[in-house]
């Protein structure tokens, strides 16, 4: 992974050579979110040595924004006539999950969660419920968002009105994983997750502490905190959480590496997996806690442990 110094207020993903993963005939209709999602899901499946998952669960805050913008702008420009059918078909949020399924020829349960900055977590929650129902299931679950071309500017304008404003550029990306209830060849243990819409700054560290306790852990057991710090006013939540942990706990601010988008916490989970390392490799980290929120809302805490 290469870290770049970005000064712009938006930053596009560094895209792979899609022709290595998607036939050109299929790729020509795909917007960046679809391409990123299809490739990320396929790489995850390949690593897990699974060809047919038992479910495909996708989270996306804004869905296929590029085609949505294209379709709506065409409606406006052409007086609600001559609307481009491809942009309409591809504009729905579930296009990513659908294209993953089409590429795999997979007719299993397929659902997309569109819950703003809790979209990835909602998909993950569905995966955990599904695993309770079908313990032997192998589920591909992920989050994806794309910048688009226009709407992101309005989001930026709102973000810049905050005092202090976020120092993190708007971005895009996709993170997909294969989850199962079997330890087998698992790389990491996704121990627990807790989300809530609203909570006070005074209560957040207790919420995190309760989740740790429910999992037989304490603040001292966490090696690394991965936080969604942006420099904005709502960073007081991150301070409240980090203050509850010992001073020597490593802190990583993941949005410095991934940028800001609704499902960027998927990147944080991927980051945690990399830090914990492969099952049979040496790592000095055992437990990682990820905490993210957006503008003081949509809080999520995820605990990931080494197998």
């Amino acid at each position: 992974m290469e870290a770049l110094n970005i000064t712009a207020s938006t930053v596009a993903a560094k895209h792979p050579a899609y022709r290595n993963y998607i036939p050109p005939a299929a790729a020509r209709r795909m917007a960046p979110a679809v391409k990123m999602g299809v490739v990320a899901a396929n790489v995850a499946l390949e690593k897990a040595q699974i060809t047919q998952p038992d479910a495909i669960l996708t989270g996306s805050g804004l869905g296929c924004m590029q085609d949505t913008e294209k379709f709506l702008n065409a409606l406006l420009e052409n007086n609600e006539q001559f609307v481009p059918p491809t942009a309409f078909i591809q504009s729905t949020h579930n296009t990513v999950g659908a294209q993953i399924a089409l590429g795999l020829g997979c007719k299993a349960y397929n659902n997309t969660y569109v819950h703003g900055s809790l979209s990835f977590e909602s998909a993950l929650l569905d995966a955990s419920l599904l695993l309770e129902d079908k313990p032997d299931a192998k589920i591909v679950v992920g989050g994806v968002d794309e910048l688009g071309t226009e709407f992101v500017n309005y989001v930026k304008m709102l973000a810049e009105k905050e005092t202090p404003a976020s120092k993190i550029p708007m971005s895009e990306g996709a993170s997909f994983f294969v989850v199962s209830s079997e330890m087998g060849n698992a790389q990491v243990l996704l121990r627990d997750m807790n989300t809530c819409r609203e909570i006070s700054v005074a209560e957040i560290s207790n919420r995190v502490g309760s989740l740790l306790k429910e999992n037989g852990l304490s603040e001292e057991d966490i090696d690394t905190l991965i936080l969604g710090t942006t420099g904005a006013e709502s960073d007081v939540y991150y301070k409240a959480v980090s203050d509850a942990f010992p001073k020597q706990t490593t802190q990583i601010h993941f949005k410095k590496y991934a940028g800001q988008y609704n499902t960027s916490i998927g990147f944080a989970v991927w980051f945690a997996v990399q830090l914990l390392g492969e099952k049979n490799t040496v790592s000095d980290r055992k437990n990682i806690l990820i905490y993210n929120q957006e503008d003081g809302r949509n809080h999520s805490v995820i605990i990931v442990s080494r197998c």
Binding site: P24, A27, R28, R29, N78, Q81, F82, V83, T86
Partner: protein
């Protein structure tokens, strides 16, 4: 006619996002569907919208569309005979 054919090729490439093609890659008699350019039913919808938007031609009969979209030459001839703009 040849400028219309060139214009059509460029419009088709843009509307259908045929990233792999340039206008020079498409022969006037190449089949647009099937073994030629390999277009499909969604592309046919895009072409119907393109004809309406750019040339004022409304196609409502699917069988008629199949015949018109045989090749750039056939499409250009149909446009010349039926265009309203």
């Amino acid at each position: 006619m040849s400028s219309l054919q060139q214009e059509l090729k460029e419009s088709i490439i843009e509307a259908l996002n045929l990233e792999e093609f340039t206008a020079a890659d498409i022969d006037n008699d190449d089949a647009l569907f099937g073994d030629g350019l390999g277009l499909d039913s969604i592309d046919a919808l895009e072409l119907i919208v393109l004809l309406d938007k750019d040339y004022g031609i409304k196609l409502t009969d699917p069988e008629e569309s199949k015949a018109i979209f045989q090749s750039v030459n056939v499409l250009a001839a149909y446009i010349e005979a039926n265009r309203t703009k």
